[in-house]
C-alpha cells in the first residue's frame, strides 16, 4: 500500500496551489516603489575593438536616468571564476579578466557594452538604440581546433593563446593505457560531437537591485539556484560589499537546469546601479537576450577509443576532448569538462585503465558552463556510444557486452579517482528488459517495416556522481568553495516547525519533500512543517541546488539538525516525565517512557521549551532551534539503464520516439511522484539534445539559433509517454537518508539511447551508418542514409 504521508509517500505538492492560481512570486513579479529599468546594449558582433561609445544623444532622451559603460567599472572587480583547474604539466589554467561591461574589446555576440537606466523599460530600450557604438571588427574565433592552431587570432590579447588548459587524467596512467591499446585484441574508436545547448528555463533571468541609503544595505532579487553563492561572489569579489550588508533573495524561480547557478554581470550591475542611481534598478531578460547571455551547455568534440581483449573484456579507454569555454570563464565552467566528466569515464564498467585528455578552448562565443548533468552527459554519451559501436563491430549483443563488463562488487574504486559505494547494474538492466518488452521488439519492427518505416532499439547504461561534494576533496581539485549544505530547524512554541535550508527549490518540490522527511522523523503531520529557502536574510549559509545535491546534502543537513532537535526535546521530555533520558522514546509525535504508559505530547514539550516554568534550566537552554552543516563524505552514485525505440521514415529521415523506458537506482526515495517527474523532465531534455536542439554559430560568431523560431525546443507532440521505474534501490551508504539524487539522471541517460536506436534502425536496413552527430535532424539522418 502506498503511504499517505512521510518518507516514501507521493504527497501532493503544496507549492502547486500558488502556481496554479497565478499567486507565485517570481522575480519579475517584484516591483519596488520608485524603481528604474535597465536595458543592456549588447555587442552584435563577435570580436572587435571598441573605438567609441557615443551616448550623448541617448542621454538626452526622455526618462533616461544614467548611462553606464565599461569605464564606469574601472576599479570594480570582474566576474570571478569559482574553479581553478591545474593542467597536465602542473600549471594553473589561463584565466582572463571578465568585465561587467565590455572594456576595450567585445568578445562575443551578446556581451554587454553599455547599460541605460531609465524610468521605464521602454524608455531604456529606446535610448539604448540611440547609442552610437563604433567597433572595429576582428576575425572571430569560432571553431575550437582552428582556435588552437599557431597564429590563430587570440580571444584575449593578454593570454598566451586560446588554450585555457590541457588536462590529463590520470596523467600517471597514460603510458599504461597506451600499452593496453598496443596489446588489445580489438579497438573501437569513435569521433563525435556533444552538441552545444541552451538550458532555456521557461522563466528568463531577472535581477532587481535595491539600496537603502540610510543603512547602506544592498539587496538583490535574482533568479538564482544559489543565493548565498551569489552573495559571496558578488559581495567579496565584484562589488566589495561585505556579506552582512548584502542580502540576496531568489524567490520562486522558474526552472534553472544549471544556467541559474552562475553569477552574471546583470546581477552585479543592478546591485551597483541601485546605489549609484539611488533607485531600485530592474532588469528583465527577453528570451532573445537569454540566448546570447545565459551560459550555454555541453559543446565538446571528442575522440574516444575502447580497447578489448580477445574475450571482449574492456581493457582500456582513451579519450581526447576539446571543450568550448566560450569567450570568458563562467563561474564553474572549468570544472565541467574535467572533474565532472573525467571522473565518470569508467561508467558502469570495470575497465582497469583510463586516460582522459581535455583541452579547454576560448572562442568568440557565449560562455559555456554547467547544464543539467554537466560533464556527466558528455562522459556517458561517448562511453555508451563507443560500447554500442564495439558490440556491432564484434557482432555481439550490446546488452550482453555491457553485462559482461559490469562492475558487480561494491565499494568499487575506479581508475578515475572515485569510489562507487553501491549499485546493482544487472538489477536495473533486468528491470529495463522487463519494462521495454525486448522480446516483443522483433514483432514491432516487422509492423513498422510493413508501414514503410525502419525501427530501431537502443539501450544504454549510465552512472553519475551526485550529492556534490566533499569540500576537502573538491578543494584539492581546484574548487574555490566548500560544497556542504546547511539547515536550521526552528520549532515554535505551539509545535510547528520552520526548516530554513540552504538548498533552493526551482521546480523540484522541496517545500513538499523536505517537509515529508522532518514530519516522518518526529511523527507529526507534514502540514506542521514549513520549508523556507531562497533568502540569505533568513536561511543559514548554503551552497544551493545543482548537481542533484539537494536531498543528499541539503536533506542530510536537515536530518542532522532535526536529530539535534529531537535529542534536546527528549531531554525536556525526560524532565517532564521524571524519567531517565535514555528511556525516552519518540513515536507518532509523542514522547513516552519505555515500558510504561507515561507520555507527553510533542506540543507539550515544545511549549515547555519556550515557557520554561517546569524546565531543567540548570542543564539546558530554553528554546528549540538547531542548525547543522553537512559536508558529504563522498559523492552519491545513481545509476540506471535506458531503452529507446524509434521509427525512422526512410523517405524524410524523420525520427519519432515510439517507446522510452528508464530503470533508475536512486537509492531510497522520499516522494516517488516527484522523482518520476524529475526523470520525465530529464528524458525530455535528453531527447531534445538527441533529436532537436542545437546552437548553430556561423563562421563570424553569429548565433543563428537564437530564438524559439530557430532553436528547436521539445514540444508536447515531439515526445511519447515515458515508462519510468525506480524500484531498484541500493541505498547510499554514507548519508543518513540513503538517498542518491535524481535531478539529472534523465538528461544523462537518454541521449545515447536515442542515437543507439537510430543507428540500429539504419543498420537494420543495411545502411553502413555507425554514428550520426546530434541533433539527429531529418536532414542529418537522411544524409547519413543516402550520403
Amino acid at each position: 500500500m502506498p503511504k499517505d504521508g512521510g518518507i516514501g509517500a507521493s504527497s501532493k505538492r503544496r507549492e502547486d496551489v500558488r502556481f496554479l492560481t497565478g499567486a507565485g512570486n517570481y522575480t519579475d513579479d517584484i516591483n519596488i516603489r520608485g524603481q528604474a529599468y535597465v536595458h543592456f546594449l549588447r555587442s552584435d558582433i563577435a570580436h572587435g575593438t571598441i573605438k567609441s561609445i557615443d551616448t550623448a544623444a541617448a542621454a538626452g532622451m526622455p526618462g533616461v536616468v544614467r548611462i553606464f559603460t565599461g569605464s564606469d567599472f574601472e576599479g570594480v572587480g570582474g566576474m570571478p571564476c569559482g574553479w581553478q583547474v591545474t593542467d597536465r604539466h602542473g600549471q594553473p589554467m589561463q584565466e582572463p579578466a571578465h568585465p561587467i561591461l565590455a572594456q576595450g574589446k567585445v568578445r562575443h555576440v551578446g556581451e554587454p557594452v553599455a547599460a541605460v537606466v531609465a524610468d521605464t523599460a521602454e524608455q531604456a530600450r529606446d535610448a539604448a538604440e540611440a547609442i552610437v557604438l563604433d567597433i572595429d571588427e576582428l576575425p572571430a574565433v569560432v571553431d575550437m581546433k582552428a582556435a588552437l592552431e599557431s597564429g590563430a587570432t587570440k580571444v584575449h590579447d593578454d593570454l598566451n593563446d586560446n588554450l585555457c588548459y590541457d588536462w590529463g587524467f590520470v596523467e600517471e596512467n597514460k603510458d599504461a593505457v597506451n600499452k593496453a591499446f598496443d596489446d588489445a585484441a580489438h579497438v573501437t574508436s569513435l569521433e563525435l560531437v556533444n552538441n552545444r545547448l541552451v538550458a532555456n528555463p521557461m522563466e528568463p533571468r531577472v535581477a532587481v537591485g535595491d539600496y537603502a541609503k540610510g543603512t547602506d544595505d544592498s539587496t538583490l532579487y535574482t533568479t538564482s539556484q544559489n543565493p548565498h553563492v551569489i552573495r559571496l561572489l558578488m559581495g567579496a569579489f565584484v562589488l566589495g560589499i561585505p556579506e552582512h550588508k548584502l542580502r540576496v533573495v531568489a524567490p520562486d524561480v522558474g526552472g534553472g537546469f544549471g544556467t541559474k547557478i552562475f553569477h552574471y554581470q546583470e546581477e552585479a550591475f543592478c546591485t551597483f546601479a541601485a546605489k549609484a542611481c539611488n533607485r531600485p534598478v530592474k532588469w528583465t531578460s527577453s528570451r532573445s537576450e537569454a540566448f546570447i547571455s545565459d551560459a550555454h551547455g555541453r559543446d565538446h568534440v571528442t575522440k574516444i577509443e575502447l580497447a578489448l581483449d580477445k574475450d571482449n573484456n574492456f581493457t582500456a579507454i582513451r579519450t581526447e576532448t576539446h571543450a568550448n569555454m566560450g569567450a570568458y570563464l563562467s563561474t564553474f565552467a572549468p570544472s565541467v569538462p574535467t572533474w565532472l566528466h573525467g571522473t565518470l569515464m569508467a561508467g558502469n564498467y570495470k575497465t582497469p585503465l583510463i586516460y582522459v585528455n581535455v583541452k579547454a578552448v576560448f572562442t568568440n562565443t557565449v560562455p559555456v558552463d554547467a547544464y543539467r548533468g554537466a560533464g556527466r552527459p558528455e562522459a556517458t554519451f561517448q562511453l555508451e556510444r563507443v560500447v554500442d559501436k564495439a558490440a556491432r563491430e564484434l557482432g555481439v549483443d550490446p546488452i550482453a557486452l555491457r553485462r559482461q563488463n559490469f562492475i558487480t562488487e561494491f565499494p568499487y574504486a575506479t581508475p578515475v579517482a572515485v569510489e562507487y559505494d553501491t549499485g546493482d547494474y544487472h538489477g536495473t538492466m533486468d528491470k529495463l528488459e522487463e519494462m521495454g518488452d525486448f522480446a516483443g521488439f522483433a514483432a514491432r519492427r516487422a509492423e513498422s517495416e510493413k508501414n514503410g518505416k525502419l525501427r530501431g532499439l537502443g539501450v544504454n547504461c549510465y552512472i553519475e556522481a551526485c550529492g556534490i561534494a566533499p569540500s576537502n576533496l573538491v578543494g584539492q581539485l581546484g574548487a574555490r568553495a566548500g560544497l556542504y549544505e546547511s539547515a536550521t530547524v526552528r520549532v515554535n512554541a505551539t509545535g510547528g516547525l520552520v526548516v530554513m535550508t540552504g538548498s533552493h527549490s526551482h521546480g523540484q518540490g522541496h517545500e513538499t519533500s523536505f517537509a515529508q522527511v522532518v514530519a516522518e522523523m518526529i511523527g507529526i503531520d507534514e502540514s506542521m512543517v514549513e520549508i523556507v529557502h531562497g533568502d540569505t536574510a533568513n536561511t543559514p549559509m548554503g551552497m544551493g541546488t545543482y548537481g542533484s545535491r539537494s536531498i543528499a546534502v541539503g536533506g542530510s543537513a536537515m536530518v542532522r539538525a532535526t536529530e539535534k532537535i529531537i535529542n534536546k526535546a527528549k531531554k525536556i521530555a525526560s524532565h517532564l516525565l521524571e524519567a531517565s533520558e535514555a528511556d525516552i522514546e519518540l513515536k507518532d509525535g509523542a514522547f513516552s517512557v519505555a515500558g510504561t504508559d507515561k507520555s507527553v505530547a510533542w506540543g507539550d514539550v515544545t511549549l515547555a521549551a519556550y515557557v520554561p516554568h517546569n524546565y531543567p534550566l540548570e542543564d539546558i537552554e530554553p528554546g528549540l532551534e538547531e542548525t547543522a552543516f553537512y559536508d558529504p563524505a563522498n559523492f552519491t552514485y545513481p545509476s540506471g539503464a535506458y531503452a529507446c525505440e524509434v521509427e525512422v521514415d526512410p523517405d524524410t529521415g524523420k525520427v519519432s520516439i515510439e517507446r522510452f523506458a528508464a530503470a533508475d537506482d536512486f537509492g531510497n526515495i522520499i516522494n516517488p511522484m516527484i522523482v518520476t517527474g524529475q526523470v520525465h523532465g530529464g528524458i525530455a531534455q535528453g531527447i531534445g539534445q538527441a533529436l532537436l536542439e542545437n546552437c548553430a554559430y556561423d563562421e563570424n560568431g553569429q548565433l543563428l539559433s537564437a530564438s524559439y523560431m530557430d532553436y528547436a525546443m521539445p514540444r508536447a507532440d515531439d515526445l511519447p509517454m515515458f515508462a519510468v521505474d525506480h524500484s531498484s534501490q541500493t541505498p547510499c551508504t554514507h548519508n543518513p537518508l540513503g538517498v542518491k539524487g535524481c535531478g539529472e539522471a534523465g538528461a544523462i541517460g537518454s541521449p545515447p539511447a536515442v542515437v543507439n536506436a537510430v543507428v540500429d534502425a539504419l543498420q537494420s536496413a543495411g545502411k553502413d551508418v555507425t554514428h550520426i552527430d546530434m541533433p539527429l535532424s531529418p536532414d542529418r539522418v537522411w544524409t547519413a542514409m543516402n550520403g
Partner: protein, 161 residues
C-alpha cells in the same frame, strides 16, 4: 497614450497605455495580475495565454488597445468561487503536471480552451493542441495526463505514479 477599458476576470478594469503596450504588459504591470507570464518574445512559448472573449490568446501578441471592451480571463480568475482549485487545476496538482510553475498558467488556460472545444481529447489531440505551449520541466507526460484526467477520462493505464 490611450485609455483602455475591459472586463478582466469579471471585473471592470481600465488604464492608460501606450499604443505599443502589449496586453501581457497591461495585465502584469498595471493590473498587477502577475500570474500571466512572459517566457519569450516570438510568441512561441505560450506562458502568457489568456482568454479574450472566450478564445485562447497569447497576450504577448495582442496590444492592450485591441482588447478594448473585451472580456478577458486570466489564471487568477480560474479557481472555483470558494477559492478551491477548479477541475483542470486540481488535475494538474493530482497528476504532478507542473514543476517550476512558470509555464503553468498558460498550460491551464490552453487546457481550458481545448476542453471547451473538445471535451474528450485523445492523447494525440492534447499533444497537438499544446504545440504552442512550451514546458521545460515535465517532459509533458504529466501535463497530458492531467488534461485527459480533467476531461473525465481514465488515465490509470498511463505509466508512472
Amino acid at each position: 497614450m490611450a485609455q483602455v477599458s475591459m472586463t478582466v476576470n469579471g471585473k471592470a478594469a481600465s488604464g492608460e497605455v501606450e499604443g505599443r503596450t502589449l496586453l501581457s504588459s497591461f495585465l502584469r504591470d498595471q493590473l498587477m495580475l502577475t500570474g500571466t507570464h512572459v517566457g519569450c518574445d516570438t510568441s512561441q512559448c505560450g506562458a502568457c495565454v489568456v482568454h479574450v472573449d472566450g478564445q485562447a490568446v497569447k497576450s504577448c501578441t495582442m496590444l492592450a488597445v485591441e482588447a478594448e471592451g473585451a472580456d478577458v480571463a486570466t489564471i487568477e480568475g480560474q479557481a472555483n468561487a470558494d477559492g478551491s482549485l477548479n477541475v483542470i487545476q486540481q488535475a494538474f496538482q493530482d497528476h504532478h503536471g507542473l514543476q517550476c510553475g512558470f509555464c503553468t498558467p498558460g498550460m491551464v488556460m490552453s487546457a481550458a480552451a481545448l476542453l471547451k472545444d473538445n471535451p474528450k481529447p485523445t492523447e494525440t489531440e492534447v499533444r497537438e493542441y499544446l504545440e504552442g505551449n512550451i514546458c521545460r520541466c515535465t517532459g509533458y507526460h504529466n501535463i497530458v495526463k492531467a488534461i485527459m484526467a480533467a476531461s473525465g477520462q481514465d488515465v490509470s493505464a498511463i505509466a508512472a505514479e
